[in-house]
Symmetry: C2
């Protein structure tokens, strides 16, 4: 899995940072997470084909997380898309989108399959070929959701040498990969563990969109390999973070630390910070494996590689 | 007057071109003309303060001319704007905007003064301090308008030497600048023409948004100093231009030529043209003073200077 940051500003974009949008590539399927204004242009800039997006997840209905969707849908329509587009967003966005398409007389030539989000605790919202996607509630001024993308457990791998040693027939290979023992022609049973190695541990990624810190959040994202967490403010503006329903860099680091996460990527920086190093330092003091989001940069998600 | 191009793509943006948006600076007042997705980011990139925009003109309700407005209004709101924002757009956008603000629970801290456009021939829609703005109908798939920005006639200028020669009193200067004769203390009348020079000829700029060619268009924009005209297609795709309600580069040049314009700036290029030189050459064969729009470039509008 790899994550490309398209936008890392908070509500006010700057000349250097765009509103929130992220593309997760899991087994060459692309998942768009939030869609701030300019997402389609950022995708082109980062050389990601907009036609390859099949699933879009909108965390909440603030403009900096969703206003790029209208242009993206228009462009997909102009490009003559055929495949359905699966859209996950807070429930009432379904009607908002319908009105919008009606107002601008847009009749998409592809189906938009809308799923309204309404969860109180982490729930699976998509069971795709290689991954599960779960939504979980955040704590913001409006209904807001985070998302966890978790790889499915892969097949066990048959040890090459064992194929020759035991003369494993092709007909049994699928079963063995799923964990079954080998049954030889003479009836001998060879334990699965002797002829296979376990699949790589599934990877996981959590996206924590706009939120204040709250106690259950680290539990929701327990043990994920990479967390993206908003860090709108430095802790010197902690009061402002509380009032606006946002997090400080220290809050983000606290979540990652308590969750036992592998790495932390912070973003959604307030436009007031020309230099985000103080936020990075603040987070690293609590959770050393913290990195500051850079736009158009792709982060490989793995169990132990550096971000 | 000077014009900055923020966006010069047609409906599909490219990695090099953004959707339509232009800022006209007339006597240090900024007029935003169309507002495609990403306009606020382009303004920041081109170092134009979004807070300085007081008037916005939307030519028609296709997304590539208007989807940047939602983010711009959000940002102005976050910045605590006080001044009213004057918005001119096709009539039914008034209700669309109201629904949008309601859907996203945006209560702007400034007044949006909306003027619905509905004109069959050129009509003044704004009488500002230094300029008039006129709207005129275009011919597109949906109701579409062009705009002319015309400087008001300035005051006549009193010839410096004449002030001393005739001992012109300060009390008469304003009247004389407006064209009145000088009445000396002894009753002698000095003709205005002898002591003043006429003001510089007012400048004018016409924005021709999405449109097919039609016979009255050059009459609508007669004698303007600079025309921006869409040139979505090369004339090798003339049929497509007709079907989609757009112009070829040759159409744009024909308008400028028949109108007796000073210069022509073409833009709104289809994403299919990586190299727009063939469009430029086609237009120049008909109207030599044609230039191809470049983003973040500022064009000085004058009677005879080069664009």
């Amino acid at each position: 899995m790899k994550l490309t940051i398209l936008g890392s500003s908070s509500a006010l974009p700057t000349s250097a940072r765009n509103p929130s949008a992220h593309v997760l590539n899991a087994h060459e399927r692309l998942y768009l997470i939030d869609c701030g204004e300019g997402t389609q242009m950022q995708m082109r800039k980062c050389r990601i084909k907009i036609s390859k997006i099949n699933h879009i997840f909108i965390s909440h209905l603030h403009g900096d997380h969703v206003f790029g969707l209208y242009g993206l849908i228009s462009s997909l329509n102009l490009m003559g898309r055929n495949n359905p587009l699966y859209l996950y967003a807070p429930e009432n966005f379904g009607n908002i989108l319908k009105s919008h398409l009606n107002d601008f007389d847009i009749k998409p030539c592809f189906e938009i399959v809308f799923t309204g989000l309404k969860v109180k605790k982490p729930e699976v919202i998509l069971d795709d070929r290689h991954i599960f996607v779960m939504a979980f509630p955040l704590k913001h001024r409006v209904e807001s959701y985070g998302f966890i993308f978790r790889e499915k457990e892969g097949d066990r791998k048959i040890i090459k040498e064992m194929i020759a040693i035991h003369n494993i027939p092709v007909s049994q290979m699928q079963r063995i990969k799923k964990g079954a023992d080998l049954i030889k022609e003479n009836g001998t049973i060879i334990k699965n563990e002797e002829i296979t190695i376990p699949p790589p541990k599934p990877l996981s990624y959590a996206y924590c969109s706009d939120t204040s810190f709250f106690g259950r959040l680290p539990i929701f994202v327990k043990n994920v390999d990479l967390i993206y967490h908003e860090a709108t403010f430095h802790s010197s503006l902690e009061d402002m973070a509380r009032i606006t329903g946002h997090s400080t860099a220290a809050d983000a680091a606290r979540v990652a630390s308590k969750a036992g996460a592998g790495k932390l990527l912070i973003g959604h920086f307030s436009a007031r910070y020309k230099d985000i190093n103080p936020l990075l330092e603040e987070a690293r003091a609590i959770f050393p494996e913290t990195y500051a989001a850079e736009e158009c940069k792709t982060y490989i998600i793995s169990h132990n590689s550096s971000v």
